[in-house]
């Protein structure tokens, strides 16, 4: 098992492995790795996603409302995000 990545890095990496994902879906997927940590909260994940969107490395083009009328944003990685991952993702992760 490769070293655990910093959470923001891992979120970006996870988004690159799927077509699109919401904050809840990302949390669900990363629960086995980070679930026991204090930083594992929706607020933290949403903040990472908004920051990465503001830095133009992920897109938020797909949105919908859930049953309760709450906003769900699906994020997807863009070319710039892929370029960063290709360049800076540790080797042991690219081989996974």
């Amino acid at each position: 098992m490769a070293d655990t990545l910093p959470l923001r890095f891992r979120v970006l990496h996870y988004i690159s492995t799927v077509d699109k994902a919401s904050a809840d879906q990302i949390m669900q997927a990363l629960k086995p790795e980070y679930g026991t940590e204090k930083q594992f909260t929706k607020k933290v994940f949403v903040d990472h996603l908004l920051d990465m969107k503001a830095n133009f490395i992920i897109d938020d083009n797909d949105v919908t409302l859930d049953d309760k009328g709450e906003l769900v944003i699906y994020y997807s990685i863009n070319d710039e995000g892929k370029r960063l991952l290709g360049k800076y993702l540790p080797k042991r992760w690219t081989q996974k």
Binding site: P6, H48, L50, A54, D59, D60, V63, Y88
Partner: protein
């Protein structure tokens, strides 16, 4: 790319993103305010260092300012360590240091810490404050230019104009009459002052790049600890700074003053890094640059410093500049949105 979801969801998303940007602007302003507070508190702490007898002149130029910079960064790093440790993010620091973006933040720390700080002090001592402070005040423009080139960040003309006004304001505030171009070290001093502006600008750009993949709260902790340690291990022994630090540690009141000033620095840097990554380097740096104005306000209110004409005019320019950077007048009058 196609946009799905209904109109309401899209509007809610746009509101979320606008609120996030507005929060970033406020965070940037807050970083300037707390940095101004740090400058004033650091000034008070420096005043508590006893004079060193006949050696006073020897220490005044480099040892005291660099020892203060070292303590400011180191204590701020420790405060941030407490903050991150308390929030369960200690492991994130180690994880981040094992990645390339994490190491980039270390390089940013060296550029913004020892190199820029050193250049600033050498610039002032060699070229005189009139020229050196004017050049170093240009750092937000350098940062914006570098972010335009290396991060491809788009900067609208309104932000450029605002930044220029802020920089002119900062120069007016820190203006001191030139003492006449003196020695052969004058041009070297200008070079060092330019190095400082370049160092601070490059720090912001490198850090923002690293923070695409690293949490800003972690990045700033790494930055402060790296800078503090480097100054302590490599710089202070050369300039005789350890004499100052060890003296401060024997005086609880002085030590406490430095620790409190560093708390303001920690809060300010945390806010600055967060703002830089949320609203871009140009806006983040320009809003952080309001610290000059805040410093004046704090000095006048708490230390009864005289309010000179230069301070009033300069602060006014900084305020107008920062407002232009932060707010698009058209949007503001329409709906209070932040562009």
């Amino acid at each position: 790319m196609s946009i799905s979801g209904n109109q309401k969801a899209i509007m809610m998303k746009e509101k979320l993103n606008a609120d996030f940007a507005r929060k970033g602007v406020l965070t940037g302003l807050f970083s300037g305010c707390t940095w101004g507070l740090n400058s004033v508190l650091l000034g008070l702490a420096l005043g508590l260092i006893p004079l060193m007898g006949d050696d006073a002149g020897k220490y005044a130029l480099f040892a005291i300012p660099l020892a203060a910079a070292c303590m400011n960064d180191s204590f701020a790093g420790l405060w941030l360590l407490l903050y991150n440790g308390g929030a369960g993010r200690f492991k994130e620091i180690i994880r981040s240091l094992k990645t390339f973006p994490g190491l980039m933040v270390c390089v940013a720390a060296l550029l913004g810490g020892p190199i820029a700080n050193g250049g600033y002090l050498l610039g002032i001592s060699m070229a005189g404050p009139a020229y050196a402070l004017t050049i170093t005040a240009l750092y937000p423009i350098v940062g914006a230019l570098l972010s335009r080139i290396f991060l491809k960040q788009h900067i609208v003309p309104r932000v450029w104009v605002g930044m220029l006004l802020s920089v002119i304001g900062a120069i007016v505030i820190s203006y001191v009459p030139p003492e006449g171009g003196n020695s052969e070290t004058f041009y070297l001093g200008l070079l060092f002052a330019s190095l400082a502006a370049l160092g601070w600008g490059a720090e912001a750009v490198l850090a923002v790049f690293g923070m695409s993949m690293i949490d800003p709260k972690i990045a700033i902790n790494i930055r402060e600890l790296t800078s503090g340690l480097f100054l302590a291990i490599f710089v202070l022994p050369i300039v005789g700074g350890w004499v100052i630090v060890s003296q401060v540690f024997t005086l609880p009141g002085t030590l406490g003053a430095f620790a409190i000033a560093a708390l303001a620095a920690a809060v300010s840097y945390l806010a600055w890094y967060k703002a830089n990554t949320t609203i871009g380097v140009a806006k983040g740096m320009a809003l952080n640059g309001t610290y000059v104005m805040w410093g004046v306000i704090f000095s006048v209110v708490f230390l009864n410093s005289p309010l000179t004409q230069n301070l009033v005019i300069g602060s006014g320019l900084v305020l107008i500049g920062a407002t232009l950077v932060a707010i698009n007048p058209k949007e503001f009058f329409k709906k209070g949105e932040v562009a």
